[in-house]
Amino acid sequence: MASVKFENITFRYGSNTILKDYSLEIDESQIMGIVGPSGCGKTTLIRCLCGFIKPEKGNIYVGKTCVYSADKRINIAPEKRNIGVVFQDYAVWPHMTVYENIIYPMKKRKVPKQEITKRADYALSQVRMTEYKKHLPSQLSGGQQQRVAIARALVSSDQLIVLDEPITNLDLKLREEMLEEIRSIQRNTGTTFIYITHDQEAALKLCDKIAIMDVHGYICQTGTDEEIIYKPSNRFVFSFMGVSNFIPLLKKQDGLYIDVGEHMKVNHEVPAEIKDNVNYVMGIRPMDILFSENSAVKGIIKSATFLGSQYNYFIQLGNREIRVQRNTLDTLQSREYMEGEAVGLDFARVFYYEEPLEEVES
């Protein structure tokens, strides 16, 4: 179990700066999610941590050990950093059986024979692969290969395990299962996990804490699921986390209006954070727009689609088309809305963002 600290990491590839003064602390015995769109530098960060590439500036600590420091000219070789890694493409060695794959790290780290057998068997049982011990990776499915990779990482380090998009190549049902498994393995072993992904949903389900990176390699927010969903630090975090509508706002004497070609008064109070003489947009998720008879905001349902667990509506609101979703449970309890129907809309859980001068697409 080890904490991890990145201090002012800068990494350039040619003239292209991928990480700039990147700092992040990761508590021990947690699952830390590092989430960002592809190309944001999260894999670069992890390759720096593992020692496969070297940042230009900065320090990296694993526990109390400094594994890399540009100033102090410290660069511990990857094999001595004691980090277990699970790669996106599994990287299970095809010429070794499952068992040989798993004991390899312990052989290299000169673990006594008896200990090897014991720990390998434990790791295999953790990932429920005991009966496949003698199989070659080519005889296993993608999910099973990924389990082998996790077991190998588990025996490879008891302090820190890094998972780089480990479930991207699996199908939906298997992804859910693997998340559950990774979760319970971490709870059983107490090892620190770093989970790299572009899938915000998976990160929310799995991680204790999440760091959100934007395309430029900056960390926009670090926090728990609650903090990130309920208090997104900026517009990027809000829109990265899911489907969103942005509707321009207009503050008038008697309250807040949406500006969609025509002005419609919103039912709720003007929040204190709204300043005068600044343009704002309202960020709102489709699920948080409610149908309401007595709202001055009126739209027309352009399409209504039943998707099983929810209904999806596209609503023409002035000159804009917005997206509304409705839980099937709500529908079961009230009624269905049809295409062509005029509806009033209420906005719950609204986020306000200052509008940049140029027009931003919604």
Binding site: D225, I229, V243, R285, T305, F306, N327, T328
Partner: protein, 367 residues
């Protein structure tokens, strides 16, 4: 009018590993003109094979297929109309756009084959390109386009002759999730414009539900249920369909004196209707979003775990010793460890047969 009719269609394959296997078994179906119909099922269930028989790419082992009232495949009478004479539009999973032709030539191909005159070809191709949002890209080659655009070319090519019937073979599975969703709406729009009869093959239940007027679920070569999306979702005929159409909780329940208890815990009854003829042990199926979680009404328990997602909150709660997943909008807040009550808004009963056919299904996937 019945646009597509399949009567007792059966297809058998001989494979090296499994011997003879019935890929499609006694399949009968009638699809009305203008209807959008989905074939839904796990891979290896026979849905694509059925579609390929309709297209004419596979022979039938038994049965007959009629398109627009005309027999195109009848095994007994040895009738077989080749694909090019069936007058269908078809879109494939791997796009199948021709890399050596530009967008215009790809889309115009079906018209050129008909030896139509140049100006008509140009006019009709332009219309198809416009309807698929491809105008302006006429002279671009497919390799310079994204997956979504390539699939639109395939779509434009399929509709350019305004065929009566459109066959779509998992057309969205090779696209990324965001694109998949928007293409879904585009297909729906196209159907409104052209009034196609569509067969849509997919393994994604939300696609099937979003697009179709009616749909069927197949499993191991057999039709399990034919229904509207809503009925299918709300009244799945068995456990398999229930699970396949969305997230499900199955609670093992013991029936005693007309009341339901979670198996192994008789201290608190589950508030739900129990049929007269219920067996002593049943499965109660309830979807995570059909449970009303509240402070006062229903089965008393507490929140074991909470996950806050973008659109919903997921709670894990225990009924007896069985873990249940509950999904609610953000407006309904509970903390981990907090006591709560569960109301089952919509639940269904299934017999607990305990048979697991997954191994058999997996074997079929490999073929």
């Amino acid at each position: 009018m019945k646009q597509i009719v399949l009567k007792n269609v059966t297809k058998k394959f001989t494979t090296k590993t499994l011997g003879s296997i019935t890929a499609v078994n006694n399949f009968s179906l009638e699809i009305e003109e203008g209807e959008c119909f989905s074939f839904l099922g796990p891979s290896g269930c026979g849905k694509t094979t059925t579609l390929r028989m309709v297209a004419g790419f596979e022979d039938l082992t038994e049965g007959e297929i009629h398109l627009g009232g005309k027999a195109v495949s009848v095994k007994d009478k040895n009738i077989y109309v080749p694909p090019e004479e069936r007058g269908l539009g078809m879109v494939f999973q791997a796009f199948a756009v021709w890399p050596h032709m530009n967008v215009f030539d790809n889309v115009a191909f079906p018209l050129k084959v008909q030896k139509m005159n140049k100006s008509d070809i140009k006019r009709l191709t332009q219309i198809a390109l416009k309807h698929t949002n491809l105008n302006g890209l006429e002279s671009v080659y497919p390799s310079d386009l994204s997956g979504g655009e390539q699939q639109r070319i395939a779509l434009a090519r399929a509709i350019v002759t305004s065929p009566k019937v459109l066959l779509l073979d998992e057309p969205l599975s090779n696209l990324d999730p965001k694109l998949r969703e928007s293409m879904r709406f585009e297909i729906k729009e196209l159907q409104k414009k052209y009034n196609f009869t569509i067969i849509f093959v997919t393994h994604d239940q939300s696609e099937a539900m979003a697009l179709s007027d009616r749909m069927l679920v197949m499993d191991m070569g057999n039709i399990i249920q034919i229904d509207t999306p809503r009925n299918m979702y709300n009244k799945p005929i068995n456990k398999f369909v229930h699970k396949f159409l969305g997230q499900s909780n199955f609670i093992r329940v013991v029936i005693k004196d007309g009341k339901a208890y979670p198996k192994g815990d008789l201290s608190q009854e589950i508030p739900c209707d129990v049929d007269e003829g219920a067996k002593p042990e049943m499965l109660l199926a309830v979807r995570p979003n059909a449970i009303n979680i509240n402070h006062t009404r229903g089965y008393r328990t507490k929140i074991e775990k909470r996950i806050i997602l973008t659109d919903n909150v997921e709670y894990f709660v225990k009924v007896g010793d069985q873990m249940l997943e509950v999904e609610t909008p953000h407006r309904n807040e509970f903390k981990e460890g907090e006591p709560c009550c569960l109301e089952f808004i919509h639940s269904l009963w299934y017999e607990d047969d305990g048979i697991d056919l997954d191994a058999e299904r997996n074997k079929r996937q490999i073929i």
